[in-house]
Each structure stands twice: as structure tokens, then as C-alpha cells.
Amino acid sequence: MTTSAVPAPRRGSAPHLRVEELRVHFTTTDGVVRAVDGLSFAVDQGRTLGIVGESGSGKSVTSLAVLGLHDRRRTRISGRILLGGRELVGLPEEEVRRLRGRDLAMIFQDPLSALHPYYSVGRQITEAYRVHHPGAGTREARQRAVDMLGRVGIPQPARRFDQYPHEFSGGMRQRVMIAMALVNDPDLLIADEPTTALDVTVQAQILDLLADLQAEFHSAIILITHDLGVVSQVADDVLVMYGGRAVERGSVEQVLRRPQHPYTWGLLSSVPSLHGDADADLLPIPGNPPSLINLPSGCAFHPRCRYADRNGDRSRTQAPELRQVVERGHLVACHLTEAERQRIYRDEISQVGVAR
């Protein structure tokens, strides 16, 4: 996994997935939930974008919206989702359905509940293959599924083809999910907390597997997680979400090594690490994540931000735009001036915790 310093799209090839000003709002009895509120990002073929955020940051809703899996009756989507140049927002359900599982696929957090308990894993994989290959016969589909099971590292794939999800261990089940997602060779794979339900030694295997498969299939991957450690391992680019918006975006180097947003600082100094002074206190972010129904005015992070009052009233009244900072491709949504941010980072943040 290279950590190129230039995350910008390569010249000549447009990014495979481009999301612009995405808004996902749904109505509930309590009010309108602004789950995603003006989000833009892009992923290239062969690259991995890590979307990081706490619960309620809108990261999972984003992935469901890209796949068109949201409840169409309750949800309002605006903005653009361009997949290989094709606009998905506003596309009829039937056409989105033909893309799902073929051009873009998804794996989920808990493989046990994400697989149907009553069907053999082989049947579930062949089903995914045949729905997009109507001409494929039973034999061909079976062969393809067995190949995929072998490819994701399941021993004796032909025998395990006929077994049911509950006969697999947690890690093997997630491999099955990956095999199913990749059976049609999609160009975009969205992995929503793919290792959160797994043990740490198994998590390491699955992350390796995803990286290997990406090298082989050259697909774009969006990895959604709350775990900064996972992102630091596999992502090329990172998007940090808070209250349905992007607060910081850039290469993994930029965001995790030279973070510029106070929320990212907070996250990094909250995470316990295997290195550094174990006796030093963690520096948590005060308060709680906001409610998406009733987001704070201005910058959604301002009630928890140590530096919010340095801008007079601006943090409270005006939502900051995502703007490029010093380095190319590194974007931050914060009212602090460049100089102020650099100074705070140098004097306060880089000294402590993980964000050294």
C-alpha cells in the first residue's frame, strides 16, 4: 500500500466515483434528519478512501445512498453521485438495481446477519452472479462461486459451497461476504465497518485480503469505519465526517500525520495507542456527538470545540466551507485562520497523545 502524497485525480482519468454536494434528508416523526448535508468526495480506481466518523456522523447513510438502498419514500436526496461518469441521483430504481452488485457492491459489518440463514453460501453467491449474468447456467455459476470462495481464502471451497452461514466462523463468513460482493467484478466496493464485529487477529487477515484483492481487481474501495487505526492501515485518502458533513479530507498522510481540523485533533488524541506514554491521560473531546435532527448552528462542531470562540460569532452563525489548506488536496472546513491553526497544532496538539 503506497501512501502517495498526491491524492488528486490522475490526469486523463476521471475519478471512478464522484460525489458532489450530496444531501440525504429523511423525515421521521421527530423531525427531518439531515443525515448527510452537502458532502463531496471522489475515489479513483485502485484506491481506497477511508470515511471516518462517530455514530451519527452520516458515514453509513452516505454509502446506502450511493447504492440507492435508502427508503425512497421517506428520503430526499439531492446533489450528484457520478459513477464512471453516470449520474445515479434521480435514476429510476430499476436502472440503479441493475448497477447494484455488478458495478458497485457492498459488504457489511456483521456477516452473520447479512447472510441469509436459510440458504447455503454457494447458493447466495451464485444468485448474486446469475442476476447479472442471465445467460449463465447453473454449472458456470457454481464454478464461478467456487473460484471466488477459493480466491478469498476459504479452504476446500467446493465442499464449503453447500454449507450454511452458521457453519462458518466469523472471519470465514466475512470472506464469504467479500466473495459475494466481488463475484461480478465490480469497479467500486463499499465496505461498511467490515471488521468491527471480528476479533483483532481476524481483522488483520480481512484487511490484508481486501488490500490483496484490490491489487488484483483494481477496484475503488470506500472503507467506512470508526476506527482510525484501520484507516491508517489500508486507506490512501481519508474523509473525516462530523454531523453529516466533511470536516477534513486529504491523503492519509495529510489527515493522520498533519491534521488541521480541531475535530480530527480531538479524535487522534482520544485514541489510546500501543506507543508513547501509557500513563499520560487521553485528551477526550468534551460533550457528545450532535443530534442530526437538531444540528448546532454554524459549525456543527462548535459546542465541543476548544477554539470556537476565537472567531467571534462566526463559528456559531456560519457553516465553514471545505477549503484547501497549505498542501494540495488537503481540505479543511474550519474558521480558524491558517496561521492560527498551524500555531495551535505546533504548540498544543503535536505534543500529546497519538497526534504527535
Binding site: M1, T3, E54, S55, G153, I154, P155, S169, G170, G171, M172, R175, D199, V200, T201, V202, Q203, A204, Q205, L207, D208, L209, A211, H226, D227, L228, G229, V230, S232, Q233, V234, V252, E253, L256, R257, G266, L267, L268, S269, S270, V271, P272, S273, L274, H275, G276, A278, D279, D281, L282, L283, P284, I285, P286, N288, P289, V354, R356
Partner: protein, 352 residues
């Protein structure tokens, strides 16, 4: 948290009787099919450790290693199958409920899911006061004053005394659970994954709170967690469990800097750490944890171990102290070098 860190209570090497002494502790769950018993799951299978007053012991391991079962036996939510638990010099392994009651004051538990462990129909005041009432204790100044003092101690607004659990966020609920555990001024708290259900920013708040309380009140902890990084920030001693056994135990520095058991090394190597970009350490274990219904013979870790030899299949390694006694490892071929964070071999074998 600022200021001088007070002198640790009972730091390593300090003499004195352990507060908690566990020997050969085991829990076997029978597996039934119809009316016949078809086997036993040896969830915990002979575990030894001590916890001194004011000491924090972390118990870590992957799913199925028996860490939660161990914690529940310590507070007698589960009846041990074998072994002894001594608390404050008294054998409480099979003490009847009536005798346990005074002891409950000294020994409390905090659960993983803060919401499930709080009665939704009771106010926070009532929840926190419950241990006092059950034990018929009236603190000087009255129950309400004591409860408000506790709420303040855990960083909650004492005026929220009359609110219900659903009005609080996840982190605040965990604080309520902590306040309840502190109500009787216990000497030891068993904390079962107390922060794993919380968001990262909230997790740090609760870890810091527990650290402050531990120092200020001189509490001993058995801190059960799967996250080795959290344990490193909270615990002075660490026990690593695998399939019902303690495979390694030692002081924090021993476990994190000089782990001797291959499994401890693999665990540390597998953890994705924010401080390193790119793939984590080089040790990759093959496959998943074996089924505890049918654990491997000899050393239970041998099926995933890159150092395993014939002897490991036939002879079970004992937890043997090395280097003068504070660190003990159950391995026939322990590692000797300090960990280089990358670990010895390069990804032995594929998954399987």
C-alpha cells in the same frame, strides 16, 4: 486531569496480601442435545491470578477466550465449576448468598452495555441508590446527598437526579453505571468491556474517569477488554487469555515491550495503530480461534502458532514464571527478544 500523579497503590513488588486471589478457576458449560449431555465447553479452564489492593489487572483476549466468564465468576454471577476465589483473605468460591452480601459492598461490577444494565423505569437517583438500599445503608447526610455526591464524582450533573436513563447519552449512561458501582465504596471493581460500546471521543472520557477514580479512591480493578490499547492506558498488570487459559501474565511493560508468548506477540502485531501508516505488524495468525467445545490437545494455541512442534500437541505448557517471577508465560518455546513491533516471521501461511 493534571497535576502530580499520586504514588501508585501497591505497585509491583510491594509486599502485602493480595486482595483477590484466584486459583485453578474453571467454568464448564454442559452442551445438551435433547436430554443427553454431549460434551462440555471449557469456557474457563484453570485460571490463576492475584490482584493487590489498588492494582489494576487487565484481562484481554479474543472472543471465546473466557474473559467475560471469568469476570462473572469473580462477582459470583456464575457459579465456578472448580477452583477457588479468595477475596480479602476469605474463600468466597461457593459462599451462600447471605454470606456474600457484606462482601458485595467491596466487590462490584460494571457492564459493557450501559443501557441494558440500567432499569429504564427507574430514575437515575433510584438506580444509584439501589445498592445502598439493598444493603440497608444510610450514609451520613442521607441517601440523596450521597447519590448526588456520586453523580458529581462521575462527572454528571447532580440535579439530574430525577431523570431517566433514556434521557442520557451512551457515555453518560456508563457514568451512571459507574456511580452505582461506587455507591458502596468497593475495594475492587470488575469492569467488563466498559468502554467498547462507546464512540471514540466518549471512550476516552470514560477511560480517564476510571483512571481518576482508581487513583483517588485507591480502587483495584479487573478490567476485561478486547482492546489492548485501552488496557495499556488503564492497567498496571495484564493477563492474556486464549481459549479458557491464561497464556501470559505480567506487568504492563512486560506484556507490551517484552511479550514472551507467541499469541501475545500476534495480538499486538495485529492491532491497527494510528501511529503507523500502512499495514500493521508482520505476524498474521491463520484462521479463527478454534471451537472451545473441542479445543486442540496440548497447547491450545498450537494450531495457529508458527513455533509449534510435536511437543506442543502432547504436552500442555504450564504458566511458568520467568525473569524473577513477575511475568509468567505458558509456552514451551517462549520468545526472548524484546518486541520489535514487526514480529519475527513474515505472515506464516495463508488463511486456513
Amino acid at each position: 486531569m493534571s497535576g502530580v500523579v499520586p504514588e501508585r497503590h501497591a505497585r509491583s513488588g510491594q509486599p502485602g496480601e493480595p486482595l483477590l486471589r484466584v486459583r485453578g478457576l474453571a467454568k464448564h458449560f454442559p452442551v445438551r442435545s435433547g436430554f443427553r449431555s454431549t460434551g462440555v465447553v471449557r469456557a474457563v479452564d484453570g485460571v490463576d491470578f492475584d490482584v493487590r489492593p489498588g492494582e489494576t489487572l487487565g484481562v484481554v483476549g479474543e472472543s471465546g477466550c473466557g474473559k467475560t466468564t471469568t469476570g462473572r465468576m469473580l462477582v459470583r454471577l456464575l457459579e465456578p465449576t472448580a477452583g477457588t476465589i479468595e477475596f480479602g483473605g476469605r474463600d468466597i468460591t461457593h459462599a451462600p448468598r447471605r454470606e456474600l452480601r457484606p462482601l458485595r459492598q467491596d466487590l462490584q461490577i460494571i457492564f459493557q452495555d450501559p443501557y441494558a444494565s440500567l432499569n429504564p423505569r427507574h430514575t437515575v437517583g433510584r438506580i444509584v441508590a439501589m445498592p445502598l438500599q439493598v444493603n440497608r445503608i444510610t450514609p451520613p447526610g442521607g441517601v440523596k446527598a450521597r447519590v448526588q455526591e456520586l453523580l458529581e464524582l462521575v462527572g454528571l450533573n447532580p440535579e439530574h437526579y430525577n431523570r431517566y436513563p433514556h434521557e442520557f447519552s451512551g457515555g453518560q449512561r456508563q457514568r451512571i453505571g459507574i456511580a452505582r458501582a461506587l455507591a458502596l465504596r468497593p475495594k475492587l471493581i470488575v469492569a467488563d468491556e466498559p468502554v467498547s460500546a462507546l464512540d471514540v471521543s466518549i471512550q476516552a472520557q470514560v477511560v480517564n474517569l476510571l483512571r481518576d477514580l482508581q487513583r483517588e479512591l485507591g480502587l483495584a480493578f479487573v478490567f476485561i477488554a478486547h482492546d489492548l490499547a485501552v488496557v495499556r492506558h488503564f492497567c498496571q498488570r495484564v493477563a492474556v487469555m486464549y481459549l479458557g487459559k491464561v497464556v501470559e501474565i505480567g506487568d504492563r511493560a512486560d506484556i507490551y515491550e517484552r511479550p514472551q508468548h507467541p499469541y501475545t506477540r500476534a495480538l499486538l502485531s495485529a492491532i491497527p495503530d494510528v501511529t503507523t501508516l500502512g499495514p500493521a505488524g508482520r505476524i498474521r495468525l491463520a484462521g479463527d480461534v478454534p471451537n472451545p467445545l473441542n479445543p486442540p490437545s496440548g497447547c491450545r494455541f498450537r494450531t495457529r502458532c508458527w513455533k509449534a512442534q510435536d511437543r506442543c500437541a502432547t504436552e500442555e505448557p504450564a504458566l511458568t514464571p520467568r525473569d524473577g517471577g513477575r511475568q509468567a508465560t505458558a509456552c514451551h518455546f517462549p520468545e526472548a527478544d524484546p518486541v520489535d513491533r514487526a514480529g519475527p516471521p513474515a505472515r506464516p501461511g495463508g488463511p486456513g
